[in-house]
Subunit: 125 residues, 2 copies
């Protein structure tokens, strides 16, 4: 039986930021950017998250339409056969999203603390 | 052409809180609770939000499984033919959610402020 504190700590944000016109930047795209940093490739990042190359590429393209500066850049050729990486601006965007997420998580912990004793362990619907 | 400040102000949170086991409390359920407060009825609240009575009822039931105390209560009969209202506990839950949402909105404004000059007006995909 988890304690109220453990149940409260288990509440986690699923954050999306609505940029208007139906375009959202959320945990899915943020995880994709993290996976691109880690793997240096859109296809490998997509594979890691269980999405097709096409879907991963579309998400990256959508992100690139939100700003006047690219978030992700692909370099051709070179000794390592090229690859995809976040631009310095892309790292700033990802950092801002993760900061908002962390602050949301903290806000959940504080605002739901008075209700923690009433939290039930959720049951799969 | 909107200013960077106007573009920044247009960014809005689409927040869901994951309670585990696939159950989430997000803006959809929060809007439904607001509509129940306003209309005094699950079916009228659902209509207001363009959802079926069945869907609205299922969302309310899901909310009631998250806590050991009901969020919504239906009173039978009476001079006004009964109706549905939030319990005092339900008002607390809704208030906590709206507080987290407001704090997330403030965090977006602050964390994305350094990037505001790079925001483009989004285009419908």
């Amino acid at each position: 039986m988890p304690t109220p504190e453990a149940r409260l700590a288990a509440l986690s944000p699923r954050l999306r930021i609505d940029f208007g016109a139906g375009v959202r930047f959320g945990h899915g795209k943020a995880d994709l950017l993290d996976a691109i940093v880690e793997t240096g490739s859109i296809s490998a990042a997509g594979r890691k998250l269980g999405m097709s190359y096409r879907r991963a590429w579309l998400l990256v393209e959508e992100l690139n339409t939100l700003f006047d500066t690219p978030v992700v850049m692909t370099s051709a050729g070179g000794a390592h056969g090229g690859g995809t990486q976040l631009t310095p601006f892309g790292h700033q965007v990802l950092g801002a999203f993760r900061q908002v997420e962390a602050r949301t998580r903290a806000a959940i912990g504080e605002e739901f603390a008075p209700l923690a004793a009433h939290l039930l362990a959720p049951v799969t619907p």
